[in-house]
């Protein structure tokens, strides 16, 4: 079992966990924090926490759900500690865009930047739910199981978050944010 091997100090097993889950955790952290530096710190902290607590994971549990709960709690702790000096820095320039013409690329690029800022203004609980559903494409059932929430609550909160985000987001507008 992979978890046992990590607990026994097997670096190969640990690397497999990093390969499998780092992209999802980094994506969650990046869209939650809104800047790459904080996202790297959050991701690293979550993996340190994972390594330190891996012996507490019970084998009959769902590892992915357990990790997601840990990541969500860490993101919210981070938000609580840093809400007074939030700093949404410019994001990486190499954001992927859909394959349209150059003008459309530019509009998409600008809209993505704006969207990240808007996501960052959402309530942290809503933010995490939207990232899991709309960025990482988890099903409602997976999110409900991972975060230990009723399915109806997850659906209604995601709908509420989308409405809020859509109202905050103005295509080609909201300068100065």
């Amino acid at each position: 079992m992979l978890i046992d091997r990590i607990a026994d100090g097997d670096p190969e097993a640990w690397n497999m966990i990093v390969d499998k889950y780092s992209k999802g955790i980094y994506s969650l952290a990046l869209n939650f924090a809104g800047n790459a530096d904080d996202a790297a710190d959050i991701t690293q902290d979550i993996f340190i926490k994972l390594f330190s607590n891996i012996h507490k994971f019970t084998l009959d549990g769902n590892f992915h759900a357990w990790l997601m709960r840990m990541a969500k709690n860490h993101c919210i702790d981070y938000w609580r500690k840093n809400r007074k000096n939030r700093n949404v820095l410019p994001l990486n320039e190499d954001i992927r865009v859909h394959d349209h013409d150059e003008e459309q690329h530019m509009i998409d690029r600008m809209d993505i930047q704006r969207l990240r800022r808007r996501i960052n203004q959402l309530d942290p609980e809503l933010r995490i739910l939207l990232i899991l559903r709309d960025v990482q494409n988890y099903s409602y059932q997976e999110i409900a199981a991972s975060l230990d929430l009723p399915l109806g609550t997850v659906k209604s909160r995601i709908n509420r978050g989308r409405i809020k985000l859509a109202r905050m987001f103005q295509q080609g507008g909201d300068h100065g944010l």
Partner: protein, 175 residues
């Protein structure tokens, strides 16, 4: 169907998770309501852009994550977490026992225990006094055992002759 009901169903409408009747009702409302149509368009745009919000983990971060296992194993303390927990519990139990003994000794909540503790303390006091007297007797028998340890037997100070080498008290003063 009014705007509030459409808002409640808008995610399910986009994801095609409504019954055919509800889908038709929402569609009909949206065609006639500018605000709801605007909300739908914006939401679809947001969801379209969300697909591009994932990024690869930067190379430097991936390396840091790989290194966590080695770094953390090297930093692990010599005493395991379980040993520390046992030691903490032992310290807590000793502390509690000391407090309890104090309580029983200085109060009469449980008179037999109080009497027993006083008896035990008086026995310990007696033992300490007797041990002290014994040590004193040994020291007196050899007067100055510490000097004797560092001097050769022929140069040992004679306890009855405080001024060896024939010197007198007066001579010492004059000399």
């Amino acid at each position: 169907m009014d705007c509030k009901l459409v808002e409640e169903r808008i995610s399910n409408y986009i994801e095609n998770n409504l019954s055919a009747t509800e889908m038709d009702a929402v569609r009909e409302h949206i065609q006639s309501c500018g605000a709801c149509r605007d909300l739908l368009e914006r939401m679809e745009r947001v969801l379209y852009l969300c697909e591009d919000l994932t990024e690869e983990v930067p190379f430097f971060l991936k390396n840091r994550l790989y290194n966590i296992a080695e770094t953390r194993v090297a930093e692990e303390p010599a005493i395991s977490g379980r040993t520390i927990t046992v030691l903490k519990w032992a310290a807590a139990m000793v502390g509690t026992a000391v407090l309890l003994l104090n309580l029983l000794y200085f109060t009469s909540i449980v008179p037999p225990a109080n009497r027993f503790l006083h008896l035990a303390v008086s026995r310990i006091e007696t033992f300490v006094v007797e041990a002290g007297a014994y040590v004193e007797r040994i020291s007196e028998s050899d007067r100055n055992p510490f000097l004797g340890l560092f001097m050769s037997p022929d140069k040992k100070i004679d306890a009855d002759q405080p001024f060896p080498d024939g010197a007198t008290n007066e001579g010492g003063k004059n000399g």
